[in-house]
Amino acid sequence: MPELEGMFGPEVEEEETPGRRDFFTQIGVGACAVVAVASGIVTLDYLEPKVLFEPSTTYVAGSPLDFAPGVVVPNQEKKAFVIGAANGIYALSAVCTHLGCITRYKSDESAIACPCHGSRFDLEGNVTHGPAPRPLPWLDVSQDANGNLVVDTGIVIARGKVFRP
């Protein structure tokens, strides 16, 4: 646009070395960038709830002495089984891996069965009959100060990791 030539003072050749103006521009842009990143982090931190009013995922399952090999104790509310094995005690999720129904323990067949679509699991949670796509997860078992078993349905552990009291 030739008519604008000279309107903003004489043309200045691009300087080789950065001048004071470039320095302040960089400081300004840099400060804005720092503030933008920092407010992003602060906002993300704000959006993360610090206290959750959710039902507890843990429950006390009783004394380890109650779980002789072959004993299966379901907990309807917490949706878990605590099972006594030859070498210890373990807990299984009772939530069917198909569509989330609550499975039942069949003592006469020593199997776990889902009433909704007929999935069946053995006592280690392995699928013996579909349509469940995955085995039942193993849940964390620990002991509290009184020596009682504590099951955490929120923590899935490696399969076969039996708790030894």
């Binding site: 993300l44 959006l47 993360e48 709830p49 959750l52 009013f53 959710e54 039902p55 995922t57 989330g100 929120g154």
Partner: protein, 245 residues
């Protein structure tokens, strides 16, 4: 002097609308230029671009359903509390107690379906008319983001009735988000505001559905329509000679 003429001569009217009603080209241009809502449109359009078969009015249908959704959505908000179990009761109250509540709720629902449907058809129309090509390639991208926002709006609205469909829909959806590598667990936690689909999740989806996503949508719709003008108006079917290439 008719009443209309008298109104148009008052100083109040002249301060709001400066142009007259003379049927001159200059005045017609001013009508477009001087109106915030019209200025995204070109001053002149070719008559054939207004024909139904040119674009099937699909973008317009999508925009119209958006406007219906904003209007009905605001009205629904007057009766809805995003809390458990009040949300479900409010939904039932709207259906069975509030005058015209069931009409507004159904209008909101069916407009949402129409919006998704017409947005898809609009996208297909643009694709088959090769209207995504330069100089319109950026507007295609804006359109893809708009489609994404439309789907997110549908999905976040799905939770709000707090019925079985809503609860399981969101359970499944957020479990899908959990499968994303590395960040999946965190994304689900942030979406739900916790580990389970509960109060926090309902409130978060409500804020997304009623504030965050609609604001983003309206902003991008403005860019989208403004770009149509800047890119030379709507493009209908390609010319015959171009088709023969």
């Amino acid at each position: 002097m008719t009443v209309g003429e008298w109104v148009r001569n008052t100083s109040v009217y002249r301060s709001v609308i400066r142009h007259g009603i003379a049927p001159t080209n200059r005045n017609r241009s001013l009508i477009i230029f001087e109106n915030l809502f019209l200025h995204v449109h070109p001053v002149k359009v070719r008559e054939k671009t207004l024909r139904f078969t040119h674009t099937f009015w699909l973008g317009g249908i999508t925009l119209a359903s958006t406007i219906i959704l904003v209007a009905t959505g605001i009205l629904l908000m007057f009766y809805y509390h995003p809390s458990v179990p009040q949300a479900y009761r409010d939904m039932k109250e709207l259906q069975y107690v509030v005058d015209n509540g069931v009409f507004l709720r159904n209008l909101h629902r069916w407009s949402a379906h129409l919006m998704v449907f017409s947005a898809f058809l609009h996208m297909l129309r643009v694709f088959y008319h090769r209207a995504y090509r330069p100089p319109r390639q950026f507007n295609w991208v804006v359109g893809v983001v708009l489609l994404l926002l439309t789907l997110l709006l549908s999905y976040t609205g799905y939770l709000l009735p707090w019925d079985q469909l809503a609860f399981w829909g969101v359970s499944v959806g957020t479990n899908m988000a959990k499968q994303a590598p590395l960040v999946g667990e965190r994304v689900r936690f942030f979406l739900l505001g916790g580990n389970i689909v509960s109060e926090n999740a309902l409130l978060r989806f409500y804020v997304l559905h009623c504030v965050v996503l609609p604001v983003a949508l309206l902003l991008l719709i403005s860019v989208h329509i403004w770009r149509v003008r800047k890119d030379g108006g709507v493009q209908g079917p390609p010319d015959d000679e171009r088709r023969s290439l």
